[in-house]
């Protein structure tokens, strides 16, 4: 098993009522594995429009996860 830190922001953070959590995943897990796990715990999760970043870099759903990674769930940004 590996353990990753997951962070939520803005709308999803408010809807889920949580800013971060730790998630255990099987070896060989990808971002998609994490997304499926989160959708199992949080029924609202599938309704969010999200991009993902691992250790502060945008990645695609097939990106591999390693123990200790920080995964950010990034809703549509709105700076400026």
């Amino acid at each position: 098993m590996i353990k990753v830190k997951v962070r939520f922001f803005a709308g999803p953070r408010e809807k889920l009522g949580i800013g971060e959590l730790e998630q255990e995943l099987p070896l060989g897990a990808t971002v998609q594995t994490l997304v499926d796990a989160l959708a199992g715990v949080y029924p609202d999760f599938g309704s969010f429009r999200l991009k993902y970043a691992v250790n502060s870099a945008y990645v695609s759903l097939d990106a591999a996860l390693n123990d200790g990674d920080e995964v950010a769930c990034i809703p549509p940004v709105g700076g400026g």
Binding site: A53, S56, P75, G78
Partner: protein, 167 residues
């Protein structure tokens, strides 16, 4: 505005300029007021003939409703990294841009307050306007900063809030 001796000054100090710029903080997410003048000083270099700035300010209305305040939230480390990426893309596309500084504020901002300042420098003005336009558009696309608008309805109901994005 370009000084007559600009090219001479630029030629006199090329070796040190990259070292100096890396020690300055050009990309920042802050919680306090942003001073446009202070951001401009981060680009100070006698070889500059033009500095262009974009200042993003909290306005009082969106979609016809009266804004009480905005609440900005950031993923700070990644925000600074992606601001640096925006600057890198700018300098790839417009090689004459010498330096870019971007400072974004987070937390609660009132109408009239400055949310973001982008400043960039060049020897000549020509490329600075397009580069600035690109920088703010790109910031709004990739930098993990979010904006919650808080307003009161015309009938006094509220306050209501909504996370806003142009994406």
């Amino acid at each position: 505005v370009s000084s007559g001796s600009g090219s001479t000054a630029g030629g006199a100090r090329p070796a040190t300029s990259s070292v100096e710029s890396s020690s300055r903080s050009l990309f920042e997410v802050v919680e306090n007021d942003i001073s446009v003048d202070e951001v401009i000083t981060r680009l100070a270099d006698p070889a500059n003939g033009a500095v262009a700035t974009f200042v993003g300010v909290v306005r009082n209305q969106t979609d016809g409703r009266e804004v009480l305040y905005l609440e900005y939230e950031a993923y700070p480390d990644m925000a600074v990294g992606t601001l640096r990426q925006v600057a890198g893309e700018v300098q790839e596309r417009w090689p004459d841009i010498r330096e870019v500084a971007i400072v974004h504020r987070v937390g609660r901002l009132s109408v009239g307050e400055t949310a973001v300042v982008i400043a960039l420098s060049a020897a000549h003005r020509r490329q600075t306007f397009d580069a600035l336009h690109y920088a703010i558009d790109r910031l709004k696309e990739i930098v993990p900063i979010w904006k919650k608008e808080v307003w009161v309805d015309a009938d006094g109901q509220g306050p209501r809030a909504e996370w806003k994005s142009e994406q």
